[in-house]
């Protein structure tokens, strides 16, 4: 589908998503595959890279006027790092960005993260189509 600028309205505008890895783990295979997959499905993807500090992530969300923030973490430190990040987003006025998380997240933590405001959590092996559909349904 090609878009002509003059016909674009709010629903045609490609969704903008900032992808970032927080914490110290270097596993970036998943996030890079998701970045390419979303780009191929028409999303505007900004990949912030490895080892991002929460402050830098929040800044990127604001600078890029992002609809979504996708965080990847496979170190197990998600319950330490994500609540702080979510708080900071709210404090900095970006509380309405929708947050999805990818990585190794035990079932019990998924529920806790959802209660904290995370919209979706995706584990290893999630098909690309599932993520795309999830984002489109909640645009």
């Amino acid at each position: 589908m090609s878009l002509r600028l003059d016909s674009m309205n709010e629903t045609d505008r490609p969704q903008r998503i900032v992808l970032a890895k927080i914490g110290l783990d270097g596993h970036d295979r998943g996030i890079k595959v998701v970045a390419r997959g979303l780009r191929d499905h028409g999303f505007h993807v900004i990949y912030a890279g490895l080892w991002q500090a929460p402050e830098a992530v929040v800044q990127a969300v604001a600078d890029e006027d992002a609809d979504w923030l996708g965080i990847s973490i496979l170190s197990g430190a998600h319950m330490t790092l994500l609540p702080d990040l979510l708080n900071l987003l709210r404090q900095q006025g970006s509380g309405n960005v929708k947050v999805m998380v990818g990585g190794i997240i035990p079932e019990a933590d998924i529920q806790k993260l959802q209660q904290l405001g995370v919209t979706g959590v995706f584990g290893p092996g999630t098909p690309m189509e599932d993520i795309v559909e999830f984002l489109r349904e909640r645009r």
């Binding site: 110290l24 197990g76 319950m79 190794i104 290893p124």
Partner: protein, 550 residues
């Protein structure tokens, strides 16, 4: 038996093949190598047993590095462990030794792997989580307290700060009364694959490799039984590479280390026998075992003919294998037991020297005791019940296996040429060649899975809606607090003068380009932290930044 008869049979088979239905998925290996429906002697052409295979324990080692392989000695079942504080891991080590384990394999936490102290702001939430936290020589002493380091071999999986940890280890061992000439173990110390895949790098490639060579040079002289580098394809494969890329990039890394050692003026036969390798064991049984066979033949050829090593021990590629974490699924996780078992079989049929089998729950959490026990039991069933150890290289001579081994070898050699066309290892890293190749392969694999050209059981087929969750390990979260308290104590108690004197000396040595290991043994004794030692060097060598490409 006459030729026309065979020809008739072949013709009939070709007709029947053309008429027969075939499944929708293309027949390719996990890595996408196309596979023929049948292999015959015609595929091998003028294959020479003597040149291509040789005998086990002899050049070119296609059939294995020992004359009797697993008939003589089983591979080492080396399960990786480490968590919390040094005291907690030491308790675990002593428990394992009491159970008859003869070697230890140390996992470090992420801050230690990244050269950061436990009290660094980026370490929060990660201290002691994925491995043991090590800040000072006191932690190293505690980690190995009560263990006879001349009797037990110690493997340490660490890369960017590997030289610091090794210096701290040797200092602790010497101060504990052990003879460094009797210390045995393996340091991963492979920084190149960090740039390609695992991302635990700190300094730019050139000084990083210089520090790897410092360890090789120091250990060759002073700790001669130590395996100085475990040249690793494992992480390259985990990042999404093909089997051929894993093999080619790993051996290219090995060549770069060898060349840098030669440039330092070392004699190849003095250090080459202590280089070892670490490969992935993925799902495709034949592709994997052909990869290991090709690896041995390639390395033997390189060491003998390109680097003119004279000793047979310099030609032998010895390797550790670990089953593929990236192949494990979080859907129906018990099914991972079967994946791990077949992967382990590939490693054993391919002639590994040691093996780690993953636990079924690793896509969900750190392994529970139950899952870790089953992983070890998988190796024991393989060793004692399946019969795969009864003869050396049982698949050698198979039309298919030999053809695949040749193909993989040839494609790896093509990669060696491409790396040279990119002006060698460091330039190819800096222009993103390896990351691009691996990223493309990872994306192509995901597309094949999404299109169901590759079936993953429980993921894109055979799903099961009402799964029962596995009981998972609950981590003790007190380690971070304990570690921070003890680090604070050490920083208060140590002599500031000693810290300044030894770090000044480290700085001076690093600036002049001489071997940093002796100076680091002194910073260790002054209780300078791993992070502080790394900081001194970062000021000289700088920090490597990745390009933004994805």
């Amino acid at each position: 038996m006459s030729t026309p008869l065979i020809s008739d049979a072949k013709k009939r088979w070709q007709q029947e093949l053309a008429a027969a239905p075939s499944r929708p998925q293309p027949a390719t290996t996990v890595s996408g190598l196309p596979i023929e429906p049948l292999y015959t002697s015609e595929d091998l052409g003028n294959f020479s047993d003597e040149k291509r295979l040789g005998y086990p324990g002899q050049y070119p080692f296609a059939r294995g590095v020992h004359a009797n392989m697993h008939r003589g000695q089983l591979w080492t079942m080396r399960q990786f462990a480490g968590y919390g504080t040094a005291r907690q891991t030491n308790e675990r080590f002593r428990f394992l030794l009491e159970k008859g384990q003869t070697g230890l394999s140390t996992a470090f936490d992420l801050p230690t792997l990244m050269g950061l102290d436990s009290d660094h702001s980026q370490s929060r939430g990660e201290v002691g989580r994925l491995g043991v936290a090590v800040d000072t020589i006191d932690d190293v002493r505690q980690l190995f307290a009560g263990i006879d380091l001349e009797q037990v071999s110690v493997s340490m999986t660490i890369n960017a700060p590997a030289f610091v940890i090794m210096a701290y280890y040797v200092a602790a061992a010497v101060d504990g009364g052990f003879d460094p000439h009797k210390l045995r173990g393996t340091l991963q110390n492979d920084i190149l694959k960090e740039f390609h895949a695992q991302n635990e790098f700190i300094f730019p490639p050139t000084p990083s490799v210089k520090l790897v060579v410092d360890v090789i040079e120091y250990c060759t002289k002073h700790v001669p039984l130590w395996n100085t580098v475990s040249i690793s394809g494992y992480h390259i494969r985990e990042a999404g590479s093909t089997a051929v890329q894993e093999l080619a990039f790993t051996l290219a890394d090995g060549m770069h280390y060898v060349e840098q050692c030669l440039e330092r003026g070392m004699n190849v036969d003095d250090f080459a026998p202590r280089l070892s390798f670490f490969f992935n064991a993925h799902n495709d049984l034949f592709e994997e075992l052909a990869k290991y066979r090709a690896a041995r033949r390639l390395w033997a050829d390189l060491m003998k003919n390109r680097y003119h090593a004279q000793r047979e021990s310099s030609w032998k590629l010895r390797f550790h294998a670990q089953t593929a974490g990236c192949s494990l699924q979080d859907k129906q996780p018990e099914v991972n037991l079967m994946r791990v078992a077949y992967q382990a079989m590939a490693a054993v049929l391919g002639g590994c020297q040691s093996l780690h089998t993953n636990s079924m729950d690793e896509t969900l959490a750190l392994p529970s005791e139950h899952a870790a026990t089953l992983a070890l039991r998988t190796q024991q069933v393989l060793a004692y019940e399946t019969g795969v150890t009864n003869t050396v290289d049982p698949l050698g001579g198979s039309y298919f296996v030999e053809t695949l081994t040749d193909q993989i070898q040839q494609q790896a050699e093509e990669y060696f040429e491409r790396i040279e066309q990119h002006h060698g290892m460091v330039a190819a890293i800096e222009t993103g060649f390896f990351r691009r190749e691996i990223g493309d392969a990872a994306f192509a694999f995901q597309q094949a899975v999404d299109a169901k050209q590759k079936v993953l059981v429980g993921v894109n087929d055979f799903q099961q809606p009402d799964e029962k969750p596995l009981p998972l390990l609950e981590l003790d979260e007190s380690a971070e607090r304990d570690q921070l308290q003890s680090l604070e104590q050490i920083k208060k108690q140590r002599s500031r003068d000693d810290v300044r004197r030894t770090t000044d000396e480290l700085k001076r040595v690093a600036e002049t380009g001489t071997n940093v290991m002796p100076a680091l043994m002194e910073t260790a004794r002054a209780r300078v932290t791993v992070g502080e030692s790394m900081q001194v060097l970062e000021e000289i060598f700088g920090r490597y930044r990745l390009g933004a490409a994805w």
